[in-house]
């Protein structure tokens, strides 16, 4: 029987602030999982630390709430050991691009077939609103004693430069669009990254829902001009179609340039997609021919409680 969105909800009390952008993301994940028809017990949500870290408890699949900045390390280990799992890792922008930035870059190089979603709100919410890596230099959100002294990380640009093979941005209040992006990301063959703009109603008083909706940009006719627009509606083609340096470079450069757009026009949608680069699992298969059929998690390692690994040929080579 096909599972419904409700089947992916747990009865754990959700303690996010009223109006938090995180709700839209968790709903979109649940909708996407239901629509894709994944099996609950072949799916795992890995999460980092902070408000977004609680996501795994709200979704009725395997859930692994890890450590600050380290979610990708746990998630990749699980996926490599058991490649039949559908794995979605989630975390905040402080988690993934601050303390976890090294893992973010390394994960891109590895291209393990899974999805990483960053809840991007510009602040460290759970520690009461300090500046996070995506907050712009000089900006002062409400609990900062003085304006931010650091330049911001560009998550899309960093992902593209690090080797992520699917890079997209969603908006937490456009749940349907976000759900579609999640489905594309999960179905992508390789490591997919989704930067989700997610207003923190409690601590980020700059990038609010109204700000994204462009209520401050109303013209004389009282017509709203949402800051957010969809790349796919503007003829943007993110995909690397053939394996030639010029083609790859063009798509990469285009994505980088698009990633710099901010202010009154903020693009969402897929920035970059490259399925020509092999996922990590394929690279392992090149070394270990039966890796996909007999991955670490599936191997028999004993017979009647005794080792059934035959190391005799190695011992022979060491014998004198």
């Amino acid at each position: 029987m096909a599972l419904k969105m409700a089947d992916f909800k747990t009865d754990v009390h959700n303690d996010w602030c009223p109006g938090c952008g995180d709700f839209g993301i968790v709903n979109a994940i649940q909708m996407a999982l239901a629509e894709m028809g994944v099996e609950r017990d072949k799916t795992a949500i890995f999460s980092g630390i902070g408000c977004s870290g609680k996501t795994s408890h709200y979704i009725n699949t395997y859930g692994v709430h890890t450590l600050h900045g380290r979610v990708l390390t746990f998630a990749q280990g699980a996926k490599i050991a058991n490649p039949e799992m559908t794995i979605v890792a989630v975390g905040g922008d402080g988690d993934g691009l601050g303390i976890g930035a090294g893992h973010f870059v390394a994960a891109g190089r590895r291209n393990v077939n899974m999805t990483y979603i960053i809840f991007d709100n510009g602040v460290y919410g759970l520690t009461k609103g300090q500046a996070s890596p995506t907050l712009k230099l000089g900006e002062q959100t409400k609990s900062l004693p003085s304006p931010n002294t650091n330049y911001n990380v560009n998550p899309i640009g960093l992902a593209v430069a690090s080797g992520f093979t699917f890079v997209a941005r969603g908006y937490s209040y456009d749940v349907r669009h976000l759900k579609d992006l999640i489905i594309q990301a999960v179905n992508h063959k390789g490591l997919s990254f989704l930067d989700v703009l997610q207003p923190c109603p409690t601590y980020n008083d700059l990038n609010t829902r109204d700000w994204y909706a462009g209520t401050d940009l109303m013209d004389e006719a009282q017509k709203r001009h949402s800051r957010i627009y969809k790349l796919e509606e503007h003829g943007y083609d993110p995909e690397v179609h053939y394996n030639e340096e010029a083609e790859v470079n063009e798509r990469l450069t285009q994505a980088l340039i698009k990633s710099l757009e901010w202010g009154n026009k903020i693009p969402i949608g897929v920035f970059y997609k490259n399925e020509i680069i092999t996922p990590y699992t394929t690279r392992l298969k090149d070394k270990i021919p039966n890796y996909m059929e007999n991955p670490p998690a599936k191997q028999n390692i004993s017979k009647n409680g005794i080792s059934n690994t035959d190391i005799s040929h190695i011992l022979d080579s060491l014998e004198v």
Binding site: Y62, V64, T66, R70, S307
Partner: protein, 636 residues
């Protein structure tokens, strides 16, 4: 009793083939039936600094190196400067005659403190500050000198084989040194030729040049060198003898016991183990399709540990391998594995700390750090192996402990073991039992990962198992694994996890906790690789009618205090021997056995203990001439 006890030392700049020279020598000796105990010392450097290999050969079981060198083969000046005074009277030094005039200040890799000590010695004996000077001292000590021009050998060989390329092939110096040595001690030459053939079996051309060089040098020694007092002509070979490198014990143990995932970050002296695992990543299985180990090089040790845990959550036996600095980075995750009851194994090949310390040198520095690693209270096991052979079987055991008790296990190894090359009986993987504890193959009914049970251990599902959904979190959690801050549940969960420490002490057999080699009035306690030199030192004392006991503690956390107390009740004097500054085992002992350590024998030069120096200290203790804290200093 006539017995062979011979130490051969080869030295040279890093990258000049010292290690492969020692491999050839060790293998020839092992092939000829001898027991071999070799140890490699090297700087944290790729090329140029001094490295050396001391290979001890015996017809009896040996567990350590000794201070005395019987024969030294050197093809550079630094080796002579550093080791000339280790060669015994009646021993020999084979050296490159072209080096005689080299002065100490021409060897830039002789560091200042060493040069100063050397100059002092030379000055006091009125000798020139040169190779000639130190060799004069050696000669006065009764050492036989065997000068030979390595270059001239290559030239003669080039002419004989009509291969002018050989003339400048200085990388043959190691093979020349080995072959001259073997010729001098009258080792049958076939074994040398055969060993070179085996070592270079994949490179026929290189094998041939090496064999020619070996043959010429061997014959040169037998024809031109003056008679040497010591010979190694071969003895009856024990069937089923391995010549293994220290890191291969845990690696082969991991293959045999079903460890199928090893993420790691490169660090000396641990990475050799991972590289060896990856070199043998495809595994033959009895009556089954091939298996494999996924060895993943990560961006740092934090990722290595995270991946290990993630993999373990899928039910895969998973481990990482590191050294102190890397282990330090893993400790936050160790607590995560603890609170989530994840079985993982961390193999820690310790080195000298603190910080980067002596990065390529030995130390048993991480005992207390391992016992107390991680913030907060959580159960874990700290277990130490005493030698390569033990480490193979112990690896099987520590994975069982991890699975059965659902705790992280820190398996302590060290640099001394990692870079030793020893003969030992062939490993028997049919002795590796596999106990996965309460790991589930299927789930029926409602499942709770952290359900309360009588023994405090919950049935364990794995990611991907039908109906086995669970949640993990580094927060305190309820039975399902969801976050809780309820004070009552918190206490129940904490008590459940921590009760495992008692269970571990109850369930692990005593023979796996502690090995007693006999308890006497004077009894040594130790852990890890110090065992070998202690055993040999005790053997030496026994021959003089002095009996000393030894208790090797393998399970260090939770500490088997009651068992150790009862074992040692008849010991009058307790002597703690270990390779660190603060007598870390002594501290644990005092805490858990409520008894004082009478003497400590400690070494923290970064060099492994020799049996000679432990013998000296133990003898002083028995004669009541020792300090409470004996600090050992031997080794270049």
């Amino acid at each position: 009793m006539s017995s062979t006890d011979f130490t051969w030392l080869i030295g040279g700049p890093q990258g000049s083939g010292v290690e492969s020279g020692a491999n050839i020598f060790s293998r020839v000796c092992a092939e000829m039936g001898y027991q071999v105990f070799g140890k490699r010392e090297f700087y944290s450097n790729i090329k140029g600094e001094h490295s050396y290999f001391a290979v001890r050969i015996s017809d009896q079981k040996i567990n350590s190196n000794v201070n005395d060198v019987t024969l030294m083969a050197s093809f550079d000046a630094e080796t002579i400067f550093r080791h000339y005074n280790e060669v015994i009277s009646g021993g020999g030094i084979i050296y490159d005659a072209d080096l005689e005039d080299v002065a100490t200040d021409r060897v830039h890799t002789l560091d200042a403190p060493f040069r100063e000590r050397l100059h002092k010695t030379l000055e006091s004996k009125n000798k020139p500050f040169s190779i000639a000077g130190v060799l004069e001292i050696a000669k006065e000590n009764g050492v036989k000198l065997y000068p030979v021009s390595f270059k001239a050998i290559l030239e003669a060989l080039a002419e004989e084989t009509e291969n002018p390329r050989l003339k400048g092939l200085v990388r043959m110096f190691n093979v020349i040194g080995v072959s001259l040595s073997l010729g001098l001690v009258k080792m049958p030459p076939d074994s040398l030729q055969k060993t070179i053939g085996t070592i270079f079996s994949k490179k026929k051309e290189i094998a041939k040049i090496n064999q020619q060089t070996a043959n010429y040098s061997y014959n040169y020694a037998t024809a031109k060198f003056e008679e040497f007092h010591h010979t190694l002509t071969g003895i009856q070979k024990e069937p089923g003898t391995l010549l293994v490198q220290g890191f291969q014990g845990t690696a082969l143990g991991k293959m045999a016991c079903g460890c199928r995932m090893q993420p790691y970050y490169p660090i000396t002296p641990a990475s050799d183990e991972s590289v060896f695992l990856e070199s043998n990543e495809i595994l033959e299985m009895i009556d089954d399709r091939p298996g494999s180990t996924a060895v993943i090089q990560t961006e740092d040790e934090i990722c290595a540990m995270g991946m290990t845990i993630g993999s373990a959550l899928t039910g895969t036996r998973s481990a990482t391998c590191t050294s102190g600095p890397g282990f330090a980075l893993m400790t936050e995750m160790l607590g995560w594995a603890g609170i989530n009851e994840v079985p993982v194994v961390i193999t820690n090949y310790q080195r000298s700390g603190p910080s980067t310390g002596l990065p390529t040198r030995h130390g048993q520095d991480d005992l207390l750090f391992s016992v107390f690693a991680g913030h907060g209270d959580f159960p874990k096991i700290v277990y130490a192996s005493g030698d390569v052979e033990e480490s193979f079987y112990d690896t099987g055991n520590v994975f069982n402990y991890a699975d059965v008790f659902q705790v992280p296990v820190i398996h302590l190894m060290d640099k001394f073991i990692a870079s030793s090359v020893v003969t030992c009986p062939r490993f028997d993987s049919s002795k590796i039992t596999i106990n996965r504890g309460k790991l589930l193959d299927k789930v029926e009914g409602e499942y709770e990962r952290f359900a309360f049970t009588e023994d405090g251990i919950s049935p364990r599902s794995r990611l991907g198992l039908d109906n086995g959904i669970f949640w993990d979190t580094g927060d305190e959690s309820d039975e399902k694994g969801h976050i809780t801050e309820d004070p009552v549940l918190r206490v129940k969960m904490m008590d459940k996890r921590m009760s495992r420490l008692d269970l571990i002490l109850k369930e692990i057999p005593e023979t796996e906790k502690v090995v007693s080699f006999g308890v006497e009035d004077y009894t040594v306690i130790t852990w890890g690789s110090s065992k070998g030199p202690i055993l040999d030192a005790i053997d030496m004392l026994k021959k003089e009618g002095i009996s000393i006991g030894l208790v090797q503690i393998k399970l260090l956390h939770p500490f088997p205090g009651d068992y150790v107390t009862s074992l040692l009740k008849n010991a009058k004097i307790i002597i703690d021997v270990e390779a660190n500054h603060s007598a870390q085992l002594g501290k644990l002992f005092k805490q858990n056995v409520q008894r004082d350590i009478d003497y400590s024998i400690l070494k923290y030069t970064g060099r492994a203990m020799t049996s000679t120096e432990i013998y000296d200290s133990l003898k002083k203790i028995v004669e009541n001439k020792a300090d409470k804290r004996e600090v050992l200093m031997h080794g270049a």
